[in-house]
Amino acid sequence: MEQFDVLVIGSGGAGQRAALEAAHQEGLRVALITKIFPSRSATAMAQGGINGVLNNVAKEDTIEDHIFDTVKGSDYLADQDAVEFFINRCPELIKELDYFGVPFSRTSENKIAQRNFGGQAYPRTCYSADKTGHVILHTLYEQCLKENVHFLQDWYLLDIVKTDDGAVGGVVAWNMKEGRVEKIATTALVIATGGAGRMYWTRTSNPYLSTGDGMAACFRAGVALKDPEMVQFHPTGLGKSGILMSEAVRGEGGYLLNNKGERFMKDYAPSKMELAPRDVVAKAIETEIAEGRGFGTGLDAYVVADVRHLPKEVILEKLHGIRDLAITFEHADPLVQPIPIRPTCHYSMGGIDVNDYKTCGTCVPGLFAAGEAACVSIHGANRLGGNSLADAVVFGKVAGEGAVDYVKNNAAKDATKALNDAANSWEQKFREVTGRTTGRPIAEIRDEMALSMWNNVGIFREEKKMELELETLNRLIEEYKTCYVGDTNRTFNMAFVNYIEVGSLLTVAKAVTLGALRRKESRGSHLREDFAKRDDANFLNHTIIKLKEDGEYEVGQSEVVITRFEPKERTY
């Protein structure tokens, strides 16, 4: 049995930053589990940038402005104390990344360059061309190699195991190469497994990896999911594939046009136009398509982003990654033709209920969560572009610190028996599940979940459709119990891994649906066609969903922390 002081699950920005923090501490045994090589995660896909008030470009920008933009962007659902804590830490974490060697683009004063991003008062998004997430992730990996972080690569989280008194005892994981269940004892555990966008399968910008594994494991371990219904749909996914096209295309001055060639944002956000926040732009595009002003029909419909009026150098230098994507995946060269776009599921604002933003701790002692997997909550009902990379590194570090502090103040607790039991039960499960010769194929269950979620709990939501979806999900969950996996091999059994991933997605999708049903209002990314207005009197609170002993979901709520910004109508 492996034994560690701090164990991190997930190798994205948050996970690697957390592991790095713990590894800096002398004498601690630290390890990081990842189901794939550490540079492949969703962080690598973030193009646009990372927010922090550095005043390298806009001298007049302030921490206060960044806090306000974030709170307003969240449609006042973010906890303002947590936001304040977060925004204050962004600049130091960005400078630290710079010191770690991140190749940031530069101003003429040789400082980190900053650009405009949606929903923000000043250019404060630090960037490296349009590969910001990629270079941050690779730099963090370099630092982890330097600090000799112990990677358990191609290991996959199965379940969190608790001690008799309810604290973290360890995890059981699937060693993918060896094809066996591993028991890992740990005093502190950081979950940084990313989002769950794959519940919409191909209608997401997320990698295949974003399957909500950590959210589902925490949920089973008794931690609530907070605001799971808050799913961000990025306004500018590529038309055919759903692949993300960065907001930089709008930040640098690109136009959004309908089939009449009109800059339709004038009808939705006349002052901010294309630079309005994501939910406003996503809603605008979907409305244009719904009212017949898009190109194409049905799910293949789209509007276009046009950058042809921009100087060629801007397109070639600042948007060259976007140009590559458009040419490769849409057969459209932005230099000569507009790029087909439409919204795509992009980010889970909700997630594992963090109840102490200063440590990223949860209700389970020793269990910490950070990054997209977690809900602190700083993004509320809508995350600002550039705040997710900042979230990953700030709260990755905070969770690492929290875990280290916990280890210093709490002796390791023995969970050998619980670990043995969990391992035995998963070993039996592997044999039973992979040995089945009948049942509905897992890919069919996945596809039905994705299509029905997109249609019923996608961008626009209403009671009837969501009730229908709840029935569908309950049926799929039943079918999942006897589904066909079809691969009995031990070595690198991706069919078995995919099977567990779909289980995680079903678990989270049901929470998303229940949360969306509870929230009878429209707020941020959550758009109810039957309740078009925000309703502060009844819903200025977090959705809290817990798993009961009998396997049923319990839907509740908790308070939103409001310190200095009283909710106002959110217009741009």
Binding site: I36, F37, S39, R40, S41, A42, A44, M45, I94, K95, E96, L97, D98, Y99, F100, G101, P103, F104, S105, R106, S108, N110, I112, S128, K131, H134, H138, E142, Q143, L145, K146, F151, Q153, D154, K177, P207, Y208, L209, K240, S241, I243, G321, D324, L325, F329, H331, P441, I442, A443, D447, Y484, V485, G486, D487, N489, T491, F492, N493, M494, A495
Partner: protein, 318 residues
């Protein structure tokens, strides 16, 4: 209905075999889409790795008709057109250990990457609280190298690695090393150059497959050449260096290579003497002429121009 056929080179628990799968053609689909289609509808045991499906994560590199590429950005239409066939050979990338089917073992590559200290040694004038400073021009000098996605395509058909993996690093490792060497903020470029020099820097066989395979259009062979220049300037010398310098000397002196002195300059007297039998065979076939030791080549016609070109090249390097 038009069918697309994949002949997939599979491997599991010591057994290698080729399995054939066919599925209905659809326009504008990627090679990766085809793999997913097979796994979802024909054979759940088919094993491959993919993540971002937008060519930024490097997970889905495979060999398609013998060439390494990213499955997610390679269009079935392009491949069938280029190769004139609806049957496509799919195999794991080369020079990696295969775990199963198309999944290769990256963990085994991490220590090789670590050889060159793939992290920055930040100059002492910078610190954690203020970050660093860099001119936009200096940023441009190395930023291309940071675009490497560690997909391994450059290593797949590297002829040097195929011949011997033990005394040469994967091409992307040299690219990573050069990323720091060319970064104006790095205080210790030799900390990357020295280990690269010790680990095969001069053993690249210049086949340029790394350049032609890189999906991000990076140039590992050029990085190797730049690292060699830095190493040589720093006085690091081995057979490779001496061989290159002998080339240069011959070029300037006569414009022709002198194979005999080349061997002496590169290998030294003792090592050259050890190859006496080989030299005799070359002599017998008229490939070398030991008399050239005594009677040197005459400079070629146009030697002035040759010297001008060498000089210009050396100045451009500076």
């Amino acid at each position: 209905m038009r069918q697309i056929t994949y002949n997939i080179h599979r491997y599991n628990e010591g057994r290698s075999y080729v399995q054939t799968y066919s599925f209905d053609y659809e326009p504008d689909r990627t090679i990766l889409w085809g793999l997913q289609k097979i796994k979802d509808t024909i054979d759940p045991t088919l094993t491959f790795i993919a993540a971002c499906r937008s060519a930024v994560c490097g997970a889905c590199s495979i060999k398609v008709n013998g060439q390494a590429m990213l499955g997610c950005e390679s269009k079935i239409d392009d491949i069938t057109e280029r190769f004139g066939s609806d049957t496509i050979e799919i195999a794991p990338i080369g020079n990696f250990d295969v775990i199963r089917d198309l999944a290769v073992d990256w963990e085994a590559k991490v220590n090789r990457l670590k050889t060159v200290a793939p992290w920055i040694f930040m100059k002492p004038e910078f610190n954690r609280d203020m970050g660093s400073r860099q001119t936009p021009e200096d940023f441009k000098k190395f930023v291309t190298n940071t675009e490497c996605i560690l997909c391994g395509c450059c290593a797949s058909e590297c002829n040097k690695l195929s011949a011997n993996r033990e005394d040469f690093l994967d091409p992307y490792v040299y690219t990573k090393a050069n990323r720091f060497v060319q970064d104006s903020r790095d205080a210790a470029p030799m900390a990357h150059v020295n280990p690269a020099f010790e680990n095969g820097l001069w053993k690249c066989v210049h086949c340029m497959n790394c350049i032609s395979r890189c999906p991000k259009h990076l140039k590992p062979a050029k990085d190797i050449s730049e690292l060699r220049a830095v190493a040589t300037k720093a006085g690091l010398s081995n057979k490779g260096t001496r061989h290159a310098l002998a080339f240069r000397d011959d070029l300037i002196k006569t414009g022709r290579l002198n194979e005999v002195t080349m061997s002496l300059k590169t290998d030294g007297l003792v090592d050259s003497a050890k190859q006496g039998l080989y030299a005799m065979r070359l002599w017998a076939h008229g490939k070398i002429n030991p008399l050239e030791l005594v009677v040197p080549h005459k400079p070629v016609q146009g030697i002035k121009d040759v010297r001008t070109i060498v000089k210009a090249a050396e100045e451009a390097e500076r």
